[in-house]
């Protein structure tokens, strides 16, 4: 068979057989529908959910939290990364905090953030930002440090001022690596927002998941997970697109 046809057909076959096995297992092994509902029950629940206003309101809240947290993380991560790359004493001074912050599982900070910033959007935004910060920051620090001396010489010869050098050399040079960090960060921001919603508050997809669990509405719980995966996919794809858009020259994008 032709290679391309195989590439289209094989994923369809694998997904269908997975769903078929799941269905058979649920019906033959006498698993309680409370523990593992069959795929068709999830599809039905999902279909009903997407027609309600409620789901989209909750989804919007989660997206706002994750995206705001992500944007804070990118702004802070890129500027701190740049400053520390340019002024090494700042990095030396900040080093103990960076190491400490990296060692703390950031999720553990979530209850503290609820305590500090309340049950509203703010605490979730900060949790999302705390999780998303490191991949952006560490990639930005590395990227801004790895400017070749010869490239700097070109800009010195051109008598470029620091602002010109930043926008014409440092930033475009760092962008592919920074955006790779951002791809990881956007997924972490989603996790941060959901964990925040688990702990406190009455909005968002994380809250909805917990609410369905308490009502033992398991197909709906699965439905929320599917929606969360979709939202994550959209955000991740968006950042990936941004990377191809901003750095089409880079080897990682595969376009010459």
């Amino acid at each position: 068979m032709h290679k391309n046809t195989l590439r289209t057909i094989l994923p369809i076959i694998s997904v269908t057989s997975f769903l078929a096995l799941w269905t058979i297992y649920v019906h033959t092994a006498e698993v309680s529908a409370f523990v593992l509902p069959p795929p068709d029950a999830i599809v039905v629940a999902l279909f009903e959910m997407v027609q309600t206003r409620e789901l989209w309101d909750h989804a919007l809240v989660t997206v706002i939290e994750a995206v705001s947290g992500f944007l804070i993380a990118v702004t802070l991560g890129v500027s701190l990364g740049f400053i520390m790359a340019r002024v090494p004493p700042v990095e030396w001074a900040a080093k103990p905090f960076i190491v400490l912050m990296q060692l703390i599982p950031k999720i553990a900070l979530a209850p503290l953030f609820i305590l500090w910033f309340g049950f509203g959007l703010e605490s979730k935004i900060f949790i999302a930002a705390a999780l998303a910060f490191f991949p952006v920051f560490s990639n930005a620090l590395q990227a801004f440090k790895s400017i070749e001396p010869g490239d700097k010489d070109v800009f010195t010869m051109l008598q470029a001022n620091p602002v010109q050098r930043f926008f014409l050399l440092d930033l475009p040079n760092a962008l592919p690596v920074v955006l790779t960090g951002a791809e990881v960060a956007v997924v972490l921001a989603m996790i941060g927002a959901i964990v925040g919603e688990f702990i406190g508050g009455n909005e968002g997809l994380g809250y909805l998941a917990v609410a369905h669990l308490q009502n033992l509405a398991v197909p709906e719980l699965f439905g929320v997970i599917v929606i969360l995966a979709m939202v994550g996919l959209v955000l991740y794809t968006l950042i990936g697109r941004l990377r191809t858009w901003f750095s089409p020259w880079h080897v990682s994008t595969g376009v010459a």
Partner: protein
């Protein structure tokens, strides 16, 4: 004497130049007490083996490396005030490096136009000027390509175009064609000579190729390592314009022989 530096205006002058890297027991003298002067429009090569400090000398003139002692003047203005480079004095100086140093986020045209962009020339004018200079170095059909899509020779053409786009008075070349194959190198050298003559730019080339130095230069400055110093300055008495056939002539061969002897005496 066409190059009597006392009688003519000096475009570049280097006096008592010394560069020492490090200090104490680990100090290395990269250049010891170098004196040199170039007249406007002259093509001078710095010829010597690796480690003779020729690139360091060029970088000090360019304002990229501070001298330990001595002075460098371009058109009467000091490049260095102590350890600080003078931006005004280095303005007429342009430099081309060993590697093309083109930026992959710009097209060939935007790379060539970069010096004008930094100098705040408006977009339309800088595109026109960059396109014109690209045409003279044979890049007309590659303006909108990315530099990564070009061959090594084409990249160095773009790099040369970028160095010339600001109409510099002094052009510093740090072994720009060293990494290219012999055939590409020959044709680029020929074009370099024509472009430099047309632009009437004073050129200083760092090279370790004897025949390249002899072919391109009005004068060849011979350097020796340990301690790095200027041992001889030899005039190349060939008429201009020159072509590749010159390299077959006995006169050329004897000059190459003379340069080789000067190099081995210094070492």
């Amino acid at each position: 004497m066409p190059f009597d530096s006392n009688a003519m205006e000096k475009e570049v002058s280097v006096s008592g130049l010394t560069k020492i890297f490090g200090d104490g027991d680990t100090a290395v003298t990269a250049i010891a007490n170098a004196d040199l002067a170039l007249v406007p429009g002259e093509f001078v090569s710095l010829l010597g083996p690796s480690g003779c400090g020729k690139t360091t000398l060029l970088r000090i003139i360019a304002g990229l490396e501070a001298p330990t002692e001595g002075a460098v003047e371009v058109r009467g203005q000091s490049i260095w005030n102590g350890k600080t480079r003078s931006t005004a004095a280095t303005r007429p100086v342009s430099m081309m490096f060993q590697e093309p140093r083109l930026f992959p986020w710009f097209s060939v045209l935007d790379n060539v136009a970069l010096p004008l962009r930094v100098a705040r020339v408006d977009a339309k004018t800088r595109r026109e000027r960059a396109a014109r200079i690209c045409e003279t170095v044979g890049l007309k059909d590659f303006l909108h390509h990315r530099p990564t899509a070009l061959s090594g020779g084409m990249r160095q053409r773009a790099s040369l175009a970028r160095a010339l786009v600001t109409d510099p008075q002094v052009l510093l070349l740090d072994e720009p064609f060293g990494a290219l194959d012999a055939m590409t190198r020959d044709s680029l050298n020929l074009e370099l000579m024509q472009v430099c003559a047309r632009a009437k730019v004073t050129t200083m080339l760092v090279t370790h190729s004897i025949s390249e130095a002899a072919f391109l230069s009005d004068r060849v400055v011979v350097l020796a390592p340990r301690p790095a110093r200027i041992t001889d300055i030899i005039e190349m008495p060939f008429d201009r314009p020159r072509d590749l056939d010159l390299q077959q002539s006995t006169q050329f061969q004897s000059m190459v022989g003379r340069l080789r002897r000067a190099l081995s005496e210094g070492a």
